[in-house]
Symmetry: C2
Subunit: 372 residues, 2 copies
């Protein structure tokens, strides 16, 4: 068996949505799938048995963070990322590139790689296609991402072209440096908001016949409608027999739009980060539990939700937990939001199989307006 | 039925240890019992279903904190403390006295009560036997504590006498003000480290024929051996047919010593607070997970422990969670420590029934030396 097998199981007759299954060495994943983000090897506040019970099938870890702490050598010596984090299922690591550009103090970007300073201790570090592959090989996730250059939202067309070309050259260095045949390396399509650059990059990457492809550089400040338009034109050009991953996206509305465009995989910090800020996704829209109007509200967060948070606690109690800064509030709202996201993906998969995905798309569109 | 029934089921032939059962309107409690502390209505980081699974039978809430946020009127309107916190079992509230003396900015203590400023917002507040009873009646816990005056560890004998006498007068006002017959009011014995004052106060309180009695004013700075000596002489004087509660104590060693003296109930923040600080109680003694020697340790926190934390995570991973300040570390160590305490109480109860409590006492004494 190859490190990763993808099987397309059913397709929507109206949209480009498709249901499939990914087989990895640590188990199978039903797609379209949402991957909770476990930055340093832990989905903040949520135990692995809870992730399992919520229906999570694959967890993302961040190479940048894990490289800084505890370091890939330690994770490798401790048996790899799954053994280390006690998550028994499939995992994916990103390349570290996005965090180097967004979190670290950047010192220098060159053809060789990126010099930066750690946001933890200011130490000088270097990340390149080769070091990213080495780190990810040692971390040992099932899916590994190529080291790419994600240009800022403000980049000119010329800068985007330069970053896209470099990303292709870096991909070839990733392929050469990549060492493990029980891991699958995905390439990342860049090209900013330029349809022609995106399509050209898709073509360049598809020629490498990788086990999967991601779209990077979305949700970096552009209007959601711009992203959705572009996804509809670019996604179908990606190889149909490989999983397609839209990185770092998004809202519930973004997810259904991207599925309609043919995307199979998602990761995003929204459900977890928003949960810790007191904001939840519900069948009635978004709400922030800290709002004073919930102080005496005996009802659940979301009357339609069967999750443990909604069947156990009142809004009044959850608000009290946030006002008094109790830890339990953070995990309770995070758990609800993850349930919401994972349940939305379940509903999407079932709707595709039952040939009613367009109806679900309409339903989600009416609840979650696309922001301007 | 009265608000609370206590039945003594077996006694140790060698020590004053006893096993019993308390029946409340929200269920029964096997004694000796440890009550996890849920200060503002939540045991920090631990969901009620986890508390249940750990074997917790009764949770403590703090009147001082709940009075400040969310306020007793709100808790009452929301159905009382159990309904509000989603804890389905028995609960106990303290009187607020201890926190007023330790946490708040004290303005004035008089025969009428205590004027203080909230540590949350500086607002001016007043707590007295009558207001404490009113607050606790509205909160609605199964067991309610009398409002007492706990003298500081540095108090002179004359000051201790004055505080003890006032505590008796305040108890009578508590009894008069107390309104609900589905709650049980416990009296609190004071008297500092003076055996004669303690015994005299026991006699004064026993005359009130209350459903239970607590020993207050211990573990406030005295040497543990001094506390244990005094407990051995004072506890047997408490009515044998009522539950005996040692407030705010203590270490595993303190618990077995107090059980040997005849105590039935305990509460303490040690397992929860220490867990959040990275310190755990194990079958091999105490350890702090932040210690560098655990960085590559694949073993569990406690090799002899069957709790979820010990059967799921390595010390290396738990240390990583603390070093990176991940929420999961706080709840994982808290859960282990609560398991340790609740399991110790199970072992104590079983040992009393099986007539081998003295052996367990020796075992715990050799693992946990009494600090000087």
């Amino acid at each position: 068996m190859r490190a990763l097998e993808f099987e397309q199981k059913s397709v929507c007759a109206t949209t480009a949505a498709r249901r499939g299954q990914i087989q990895t060495g640590h188990g199978s994943i039903e797609t379209p799938v949402f991957m909770p983000v476990g930055t340093v090897g832990s989905v903040k506040g949520i135990a692995p048995w809870t992730l399992k019970a919520l229906g999570a099938e694959i967890i993302l870890g961040n190479t940048y963070h894990l490289h800084l702490r505890p370091g890939e050598a330690r994770v490798e010596a401790l048996g790899g990322l799954q053994e280390f984090t006690a998550w028994q299922g499939p995992m994916l690591t990103d390349s570290g590139g996005f965090q180097v550009f967004s979190l670290a103090q950047l010192n220098q970007i060159s053809e060789e790689g990126v010099k930066f300073q750690s946001h933890v201790d200011g130490s000088h570090r270097f990340l390149s296609p080769e070091t990213s592959m080495d780190i990810q090989n040692r971390l040992g996730a099932d899916i590994v991402m190529a080291f790419d250059q994600c240009p800022p939202a403000t980049a000119t067309r010329e800068e985007v072209i330069a970053a896209t070309d470099r990303t292709t050259r870096w991909l070839d260095r990733c392929i050469s440096a990549f060492k493990r045949d029980d891991q699958a390396l995905f390439g990342i399509v860049q090209g900013g908001l330029h349809e022609d650059l995106r399509l050209a990059h898709v073509e360049a990457l598809a020629a490498r016949d990788l086990p999967g492809y991601a779209l990077g550089g979305f949700s970096v400040g552009e209007a959601p409608s711009v992203m959705v338009d572009l996804l509809q034109r670019v996604t179908p050009a990606l190889p149909a027999d490989k999983p397609r991953y839209l990185m770092g996206v998004g809202t519930p509305r973004d997810l259904v739009e991207a599925v309609a465009a043919g995307i199979d995989m998602f990761d995003c910090v929204l459900p977890t980060r928003n949960g810790r800020m007191g904001t939840v996704f519900t069948s009635e829209g978004r709400l922030n539990i800290k709002n004073a109007r919930f102080a005496d509200d005996r009802g659940p967060l979301d009357p339609a939700c069967p999750c443990r948070t909604c069947t156990t606690y009142s809004r009044a109690y959850l608000r009290h937990l946030f006002i008094t800064k109790e830890l339990l509030g953070l995990s309770a709202l995070t758990e609800h939001n993850l349930f919401y996201y994972l349940d939305l993906m379940r509903r999407i998969r079932e709707a595709i199989t039952a040939e009613r995905f367009p109806q679900l798309l309409d339903e989600v569109r009416s609840l979650w307006p696309l922001k301007a």
